[in-house]
């Protein structure tokens, strides 16, 4: 879409919004914009983190999803109780593919679903007693669990249960960490507030456990990976690079992470923050309270990886700086071969993205390494600080959409005609039926890892496999087939 001008993109937005009633149109206009490098602050061109309008399809989640699904869920050696009715936890169970090492049900519990399974009587009489009993049971059945988090679902806030009191009591009784999280789904406009609430609960109930305890032997090269959820093994392929350059990774948040790692994090020298949106809060807190600086990095695609490795190294001595160069050199042959193989097959293809967290801006570099162009991007639940960071990454006059509705996204895709769309499971089948190659970019479409040099090879293969798959030409939605074609199908049946 390089040829398209700013005016044309603006006209496109107006055209798509035409069908809306006046009031909705006015609101949605604020969430859609044309990228312009001249603009320094995104709040001048885009509104974000607002309530979705009734009547449109949004793909946002709830605060519970942000806490249980994203921040706390992957901590492997704690039991995360979905406190409330059974559905919230059951329908989201293990969907995010946070890989971990351990024996599920013995010392790790990520893919299991624990719930207090609220019934009518719990709503009427309150569920605190039940919660108390559940925590005791968990301790008996899973003695190797290091703690429990109570992930509130909607009813808990509505009936006014005092989960904090239960947590304090049980924590004392069992001598284990018990964290109450007030992440009822109705709080906030999207999962984003759930991230914030979860960060705050880490801060208040877990992070300070080893304050004043100096028995941990630290080195000048201690770092932690924050905001990497190890989807398909992402954190592992990042960790190897950091270790190879001479750093010691003390903790992983929260993919394949443990409670002990959380407690040790205040003792590291630098926090490396991958997903800014979901964990900037705790990083800021650690900077203020413990003086641990934090640094955003990006491990998608060789260009950004090299940039990030050097940026990380610049916070350390020459040994690490040399280490970074060594790592980049070592993988050079590998990633050049990947680019040489796939670039000719992908060159010039246009991509539209619509994901959450960090991906709408972080993956752009990886596509560009393959010669592809991202012509539209957007976040489900970003805030303006995310868009500030996105403007620089995207090309001029490209589309940016916030909390895009099902209708808008479809219309944009029809008009912009991307060669590939990267978004979530809710969008996947619509676009596939429209005959547009699609990758599910939340959990890497059952593939991954995509982080690091190893991940880049898989990323390139997956994009090629999807884009150049011969099936797309054979797909035509039934309603766009001519009547002869439909007859032919009927006759062949």
């Amino acid at each position: 879409m390089a040829a398209i001008s700013k005016e044309e993109t603006e006209a496109l937005i107006q055209e798509v919004l035409e069908v809306y009633p006046e009031k909705l149109k006015k609101d949605r206009t604020k969430h859609l914009t044309v990228n312009d490098h001249e603009v320094e602050q995104s709040k001048k061109c885009i509104t974000s983190n607002r309530k979705s309008q009734p009547g449109v399809m949004t793909v946002r989640g709830c605060a519970y999803a942000g806490s249980k699904g994203v921040v706390w869920g992957p901590i492997k050696d704690m039991v995360h109780v979905s406190h409330g009715p059974v559905g919230c936890g059951q329908y989201s169970r293990a969907g995010r593919r946070n890989y971990y090492i351990g024996t599920t049900g013995v010392n790790t519990f990520v893919t299991m679903n624990f719930t207090s399974d609220f019934q009518e009587k719990d709503i009427v009489f309150g569920g605190d007693k039940k919660l108390d009993k559940i925590i005791t049971e968990i301790d008996q059945l899973f003695p190797l669990s290091k703690g429990v988090t109570i992930q509130s679902e909607c009813p808990i806030g509505l009936i006014g249960d005092d989960i904090e009191a239960v947590a304090k009591k049980k924590s004392k009784e069992l001598d284990k960490t018990v964290v109450p999280v007030r992440c009822e789904g109705f709080r906030g406009v999207s999962q984003s507030l759930g991230h914030h609430i979860a960060n705050d609960s880490i801060r208040d109930w877990a992070l300070g456990a080893r304050d004043g305890d100096d028995s941990f032997e630290s080195t000048p090269y201690d770092v932690s990976i924050i905001g990497d959820y190890n989807i398909g093994g992402d954190a592992w392929s990042s960790r190897t690079l950091l270790e190879e350059m001479g750093l010691r990774v003390v903790s992983q948040w929260s993919g394949d992470g443990s409670l002990a790692e959380i407690e040790l994090t205040p003792k590291v020298k630098l926090n490396l923050l991958h997903c800014y949106r979901s964990m900037n809060y705790i990083s800021r807190h650690m900077e203020e309270k413990y003086g641990v600086p934090w640094l955003e990095y990006n491990f998608f695609g060789p260009t950004k990886i090299a940039e990030s490795l050097r940026k990380i190294a610049s916070h350390f001595d020459d040994k690490i700086k040399e280490g970074a160069e060594r790592v980049i050199e070592r993988y050079k042959g590998e990633y050049e071969a990947v680019i040489e193989k796939y670039r000719p097959r992908l060159e010039g293809k246009k991509v539209m993205l619509y994901v959450g967290g960090l991906r709408p801006r972080h993956i752009i570099g990886a596509y560009e390494d393959l010669g592809m162009e991202v012509v539209g991007t957007g976040y489900e639940f970003a805030h303006n600080d995310d868009y500030d960071r996105t403007i620089k990454e995207m090309g001029n006059a490209t589309l940016i959409y916030d909390d895009v509705t099902g209708f808008e996204f479809e219309e944009f895709a029809k008009k912009v005609k991307p060669d590939l769309i990267g978004s979530g499971i809710k969008e996947k089948y619509i676009f596939q039926k429209m005959g547009i190659p699609f990758r599910q970019m939340h959990s890497w479409d059952y593939s991954g890892p995509y982080h690091g040099y190893d991940g880049f090879a898989i990323f390139a293969r997956d994009m090629d496999m999807t884009l150049n798959n011969p099936c797309w030409n054979m797909l035509k939605a039934p309603w766009s087939q001519s009547s002869e074609e439909a007859d032919a199908v009927a006759a062949s049946a």
């Binding site: 602050q41 709040k43 800021r284 900077e287 203020e288 805030h383 303006n384 600080d385 500030d388």
Partner: protein, 71 residues
């Protein structure tokens, strides 16, 4: 009266972060910034202004302070 976290950017500039609004802006001007005191009227790059009674001795950043909206 928002709670604001102020932290140093790598280039030495100061960032003004309003936690409640997830808004992060660069500070362009501080009224009083000397050995003894820090504060007064603070202007951000987007033109908005905030006020805090000068803090003495100057705080070590990062830190959280309570600002008033300047009129």
């Amino acid at each position: 009266m928002p709670n604001v976290m102020i932290r140093r950017k790598p280039d030495g500039g100061l960032l003004f972060y309003i936690a409640k609004k997830d808004q992060e802006d660069v500070i362009s001007k501080v009224e009083v910034d000397n050995e003894e005191q820090w504060g007064g009227e603070v202007e951000l790059t987007d033109g908005s202004r905030y006020y805090i009674d000068p803090v003495s001795p100057p705080p070590r950043f990062p830190t959280t302070l309570r600002f008033k909206r300047a009129v």
